[in-house]
Amino acid sequence: MRKLKCILLLSAFTLGSSFVHAQDNAALLDILVKKKVISDQEAEEVRADLVKEYTAVPAGKINISAPVKELRIYGDTRLRYEYRGAKSETNSNDSVEADRFRYRLRIGMDLKLTEDWFVGVRVETASGGRSTNVTMGPNGNGSGGSTTGPWNKSNNSIYLGQAYVKNSSLPWLTVIGGRMPNPLVTSPMVWDPDINPEGFAQQLKYSFGPFESSEKPSADGKGTVAASEPSPLTLDIFGNFGEFVYDSGYKQNSFGSATPSYNDIFLIALQSGAKLNFDKSTSLQVAPTLYLYTSTKTTDYVGAANVYSGAPGGNQYGINDLEILDIPVEFDWTMAGLPFRLFGEFADNLQAAERAKQAETVATVKAAKIGGQNIAWQAGLGINKIKKKGDWELMGYWQTSEQYSLDTNLIDDDVFDSHLNTQGPVVKAGYALTDAVSLSLSYNYGMIIDNKLGTGGYAGLNGATSNPATKSYNLIQMDLNVKF
């Protein structure tokens, strides 16, 4: 009996340390009873002893509800030093600078449920949609000191970053609802990676291949054999569709009002794409996407700043007249044992002329250049990827984002301080100290494209209004990333 118990305990811990194994070993015990190796009573005693011994270890104390098939807990913590600076267009000696020591925490939980349901939850620091960073030593008063004492916790709240439900009952269709990780193929030029859109999404995917070769008669002439090895070529066709609730217009109507006051605003994303895999490491992916905004004529996002809100240097963050065609492209291959990635993206706001015209209605900017400014693009190269201890990676690209080309509320605020009408280089390097800990350094320098126009954008160094015209932006970030 003691020997049997030892064997069962050993098997329980070797088979993936799942407490289910240790708790029960029911199948093995049942077989032993069936074969009359042990009696029912002996099996019960072994079962009870196994549970007792397992409940003595920490994992045995965890109780997970029955519908959960698999639970994954993950997260990361990041320490960051950041410098942001902007130079004035009008006064070469004037600049605005900000440096911060920051940290962030994200803890997530993926729950695979029965019958192809899935729930994802992630909590994270910082309330903003485009940031998970907390600044060390709250500097809200801007004078370098805190009015509420050192290290108060007023900016340390934990927020719900993701909470979504997913179903993939059909192998080619996944349906998602809630606050979700971005379901689209995209880049920081269009979407800040910290944004988790709220709404609904559908992902379709169908794969073709590998393709069989033609057949030829076999050597003995009795049958057929493949003429050559099967082709490694495969093709994935996919479609990602998002109906994101951009701004909920509660209430749509009210007593005493003849016409609706507010409308819900949806951002509709229609993406279709293909990935051609030439072999395991070489592939080409294209994912044309159309972004549409509903109801923007009757109400505006966050206040009424659908046009310039200040002098020519002023910013704008309205979402009127945006109909963006975006085409991200990526080519991956391996050379000298290293993975390479050549990537690019091209976006065109098909309503840029109208958006520019709206901007022109503000008297103070009538002199500004109108027309054009509808294109955003980037092109770059990435070498190697961080996966384990000792790995390194390098990435660099050029980005141009014209003034009326993109939704400035979505673009990455870590590139050109979240402003449009800028262009310049972006570089990033990383090195893994351990499998879980890595260092990264990134730098970008954004130059204003047209100094008669604003730079778009709500956030960043200059805020929404009253900023002087800017000539360039500098941004340096040094990170220590710990994943768990």
Partner: protein, 269 residues
């Protein structure tokens, strides 16, 4: 001399009182409503100095009493949960199971119901509320009324595991305190369905339906051919001694196992 006799008689009485032992047994209604009282009665005939206190309010209550050391024997129709094992260990109690009988959880319907057999899938669908009308499982149209045990019951947990893949019971299910109450309600309700231990199949107005073509019986439970077969247990704090050991041994004796069979359970030997 009188004084000496008086002292001797007092000491004898005191010794008798000290020797009289009360055996406390708590837990499963499946075991405690019929089987254990009958075993106790029979046992007392040979051990008149031992009295019994039996409380049959569900297997969970038996484990709770064992952990708080307020019972000698815990009756259970299910295995101890890991949390109960853990609680017991931290209280210095070593839960030791002894199989005393086998049982089949019989799915019962009103005897007027035309349904005679259900598949395991249909049983799951009914008790989880996926199928709400008897016409959905080949019966006469009528809304299905579900009767289950309450959450303190081992049978409640066992049935969820054996028959429902641990899914939740239908929200409309009515929770009953014991097997007899379930049998009584199903006997009165033409659209009723519930489950009881085999010992309760003799109640009026009910019948057991076959599950995947097998009716719960001594043979089908013993061979484990019946899908909802299960062992039932006495749990004690380690190896027992005294009256508790005597009663456990008696239950497993041929006399005890005869009573097990007479009551409607399947003997272990």
């Amino acid at each position: 001399m009188k004084k000496i006799l008086s002292i001797v008689s007092t000491l004898t009485l005191a010794a008798t009182l000290v020797h009289a032992e009360t055996l406390i047994i708590k837990g499963s209604d499946t075991l405690g409503a019929k089987l254990v009282p009958q075993l106790a009665e029979s046992f007392k005939a040979a051990h008149p100095d031992i009295s019994f206190k039996i409380a049959a309010e569900g297997s969970s209550t038996g484990f709770a009493a064992l952990i708080s050391k307020t019972t000698d024997i815990g009756m259970s129709s299910r295995r101890a949960k890991p949390a109960e094992m853990s609680d017991a260990l931290s209280n210095g109690v070593n839960l030791k199971p002894t199989i005393v009988a086998y049982d089949g959880i019989a799915v019962i319907v009103n005897s007027a119901n035309s349904v005679k057999s259900l598949t395991k899938k249909q049983v799951e669908q009914i008790f989880t509320g996926e199928v709400k009308d008897w016409s959905g499982v080949g019966g006469q149209p009528g809304p299905i009324s579900i009767y289950t045990r309450n959450t303190a019951s081992g049978t409640y947990a066992d049935f969820a595991e054996l028959a429902m893949k641990k899914r939740n019971y239908a929200g409309s299910a009515q929770k009953m305190a014991g097997n007899e109450q379930i049998a009584s309600e199903v006997g009165k309700n033409a659209n009723g369905i519930g489950y009881v231990g085999m010992a309760y199949l003799k109640a009026a107005g009910i019948k057991a339906v076959a599950v995947d073509g097998v009716i719960p019986s001594l043979v089908s439970v013993n061979s484990k051919a019946y899908a909802y077969s299960r062992p039932t247990f006495y749990y004690t704090n380690g190896t027992t001694a005294g009256a508790a050991k005597a009663f456990v041994d008696y239950t497993l004796s041929s006399t005890g196992q005869k009573i097990v069979e007479q009551v409607g359970f399947v003997p272990v030997k």
